[in-house]
């Protein structure tokens, strides 16, 4: 791949930012931004068929946050792979819950700003017809309502919440809090596997994740899921749904949102006890209804 003006030289090769045409000019295809970072799709000849997200700090003042993010993601991946190496027959696949750092470097040509190149292991269902990654198929759950104008069914919400809680158990066990638990940071693929995208606000605690932080992260996660069901976490209201024959599921969701759980492990355990009791433990296809 020839180096062009939208290609950055990293330590693992050249990463070419995908472009589009706008008003007769070729411009980089930005997929998102925050106050501190810009996000682009990119590819590299060194990684055939893979697509990555290139995350660039907007100024050098944000470089340290990306440095810490890259370090944490690396540590999470080591821990996840180590666990699976010990559990060969029943892997936990924690590594799908966060991005893989493909490369991290300071780009001189971009004003010494730090660049992260992020890949995803999530599911297998974000490939296009040629078997290439298509990360545009990853969907922030907040967009289910705001862009797709849909709501998820209760079983889909349970699938998403269960997976997210499983990852919180893993992160908190390692003394790491996600920080950003907004619906824009929780991505799902077509099989509604979950991954947490942005780690620039990650928390690390020498004393382990405190019960206050754990409680807050569980609560914020639950509130996002209640919102997915077009419920109101403050009013503790959910729309009636035929798949909710009694009030147990709503009650549990509101307890999570209300800060009644100070441990992700306990929340995860009790959540699955309830869900298996209500619906059994089996795959449920991603199901939505129009708003």
């Amino acid at each position: 791949m020839a180096k062009d003006k939208f290609a950055l030289l990293g330590t693992k090769g050249v990463f070419a930012v995908e472009t589009k045409e706008r008003e007769g000019k070729i411009v980089p295809r930005k997929v998102g931004e925050t106050k501190n970072f810009n996000l682009y799709f990119c590819r590299s000849e060194n990684f055939p068929k893979r697509q990555f997200i290139l995350k660039v700090s907007k100024t050098i003042a944000e470089n340290p946050a990306l440095d810490r993010e890259a370090y944490i993601l690396h540590e999470l991946r080591i821990a996840a792979l180590r666990i699976d190496a010990e559990l060969v027959d029943s892997p936990m696949n924690y590594q799908i819950g966060f991005p893989e750092v493909i490369d991290s470097f300071i780009s001189e040509e971009q004003g010494e700003r730090r660049v992260l190149v992020l890949g995803f292991d999530i599911g297998k269902d974000f490939k296009n017809a040629d078997g290439e990654d298509d990360l545009s198929l990853l969907l922030p759950i907040s967009r289910i309502r705001t862009r797709n104008k849909e709501r998820v069914d209760p079983k889909t919400s349970a699938w998403i919440l269960g997976k997210a809680l499983k990852f919180l158990v893993f992160f908190h066990y390692l003394g790491i809090s996600v920080g950003n638990l907004s619906g824009g940071n929780i991505l799902i693929d077509k099989e509604h596997y979950v991954t947490f995208f942005d780690w620039s606000d990650v928390g690390l605690d020498n004393d382990g994740v405190s019960s206050e932080v754990a409680c807050s992260e569980i609560s914020r996660l639950a509130r996002e899921v209640i919102t997915l069901l077009t419920g109101d976490p403050d009013a503790e209201e959910l729309l009636d749904d035929e798949h909710l024959p009694d009030g147990r599921y709503e009650k549990f969701l509101f307890a999570l949102a209300d800060g009644k759980f100070e441990s992700a492990k306990r929340a995860h355990k009790e959540f699955y006890e309830l869900v298996e009791n209500m619906w059994g433990r089996k795959f449920h296809p991603y199901t939505t209804y129009p708003l």
């Binding site: 411009v27 440095d67 810490r68 370090y71 944490i72 540590e75 605690d205 020498n206 004393d207």
Partner: protein
């Protein structure tokens, strides 16, 4: 004086003195003074040398009258170490690891403070029930760092669970005058302890440690405190962190919540053993100065002689601290380097190449977003 640094030869000579004259006791010079009823040596007595510890630039006068900055702008590093109970070996340990510490900060090719004139204060604390609550050295840059450690006598006892670093923190906050602060940059202060503190500063003990002139000297040093209502330890830490990057290196981690409540959790670094000190300090300083980053830290520590497993532990321990905060100061990239000429003492900025007028360094041009090639 202008060029002196801590050398391995000079340290070895002092270590030999500890071995022979002191019969292996690092604190031999201080013990001898106490046997003779002389009390603390003024060099390490918090009352000594008019209380305030100065960290000043070093110059060499040139033939034309200008002053050459011989060793860079001074950067002050203070370590306040617990010497109660199981921490009683800390004077010996600070002495033993000094060559490694100095090398990591100022000596090696990748020294984290390579551009500065590294100046070190060592202080030790005990308990208010002990004979001496605090020893505090001068800001030194050569073998005096080692020599003043031999004047410090650890209490080893400690009256109860809580200990009294509070007076050492007070000294760092109110009785320190570091030239680096004039540029808006901060010095470094490390508290090393395995115990909690009392969280208050008592007037009687304050006067006992620093003498009757303490309030006068605090004021002379540019600070205002109420004699009637002394600051709490937490308030003192808030004051200190205006001028220093402050960290608790908490040995064992038993009192992490206590220290997090005073310093903030991102400023408490738990270490398994005091032997980690030189590498932990270098890691924290390098990450704060932006001369190291988290992703390359382990490789750096190993390259500087740290055991691989310990390096891993250290990286994890420091991964939560604020990163590169020194680099956010506007003068960070502008501070004068060694060899710079000044018109007179006290000038912050060097004389221009064409004249004698002090000039502030020009602001670097902001990087332009190169139209559509800028991501």
């Amino acid at each position: 004086m202008g060029y002196r640094r801590l050398t391995r030869e000079a340290f070895t000579a002092t270590a030999e003195e500890v071995k022979t004259t002191g019969r292996g006791e690092t604190s031999f010079a201080g013990i001898q003074r106490q046997k003779e009823g002389k009390g603390l040596d003024p060099l390490v007595d918090p009352k000594g040398f008019d209380l305030i510890r100065f960290s000043r630039p070093r110059y060499e006068q040139q033939e034309d009258g200008s002053l050459l900055l011989t060793s860079g702008v001074p950067m002050l590093i203070e370590t306040l170490a617990d010497t109660t109970g199981s921490m009683g070996g800390n004077v010996s340990l600070l002495f033993e690891v000094l060559p490694t510490t100095y090398n990591l900060l100022a000596g090696s090719a990748r020294a984290v403070l390579g551009r500065y004139d590294t100046q070190i204060i060592n202080a030790i604390f005990g308990d208010v029930v002990d004979d001496y609550v605090l020893y505090r050295s001068q800001a030194e840059m050569d073998v005096e760092i080692a020599k003043q450690l031999t004047l410090m006598v650890p209490e080893r006892a400690g009256g109860d669970t809580t200990e009294d670093p509070d007076y050492g923190i007070f000294a760092a906050a109110y009785l320190t005058n570091a030239h680096i602060n004039k540029y808006g940059l901060k010095s470094y202060h490390f508290l090393v302890t395995d115990a909690p503190c009392r969280e208050r500063i008592d007037r009687k003990n304050l006067i006992r440690v620093f003498g009757e002139r303490v309030f006068e000297k605090v004021k002379e040093n540019g600070h205002t405190i109420s004699e009637g209502q002394l600051p709490t330890t937490k308030e003192t830490v808030r004051e200190l962190e205006k001028r220093a990057h402050t960290f608790v290196l908490h040995v064992g981690g038993r009192w992490t919540s206590h220290w997090s409540g005073i310093y903030g959790s991102s400023h408490v670094v738990v270490i398994p053993h005091v032997g980690f000190l030189p590498y932990v300090q270098a890691a924290i300083i390098g990450l704060t100065e932006g001369t190291l980053d988290l992703q390359s830290l382990k490789e750096y520590l190993i390259s500087e002689g740290c055991d691989s497993s310990n390096a891993q532990t250290i990286v994890r321990a420091v991964a939560g601290i604020p990163l590169a905060t020194q680099t956010l100061v506007s003068n960070y990239k502008k501070i004068p380097l060694k060899g710079t000429l000044f018109a007179q003492k006290g000038d912050l900025w060097p004389i221009s190449e064409t004249g004698k007028k002090p000039v502030e360094a020009k602001k670097p041009k902001p990087v332009k977003e190169e139209d559509d090639a800028w991501l």
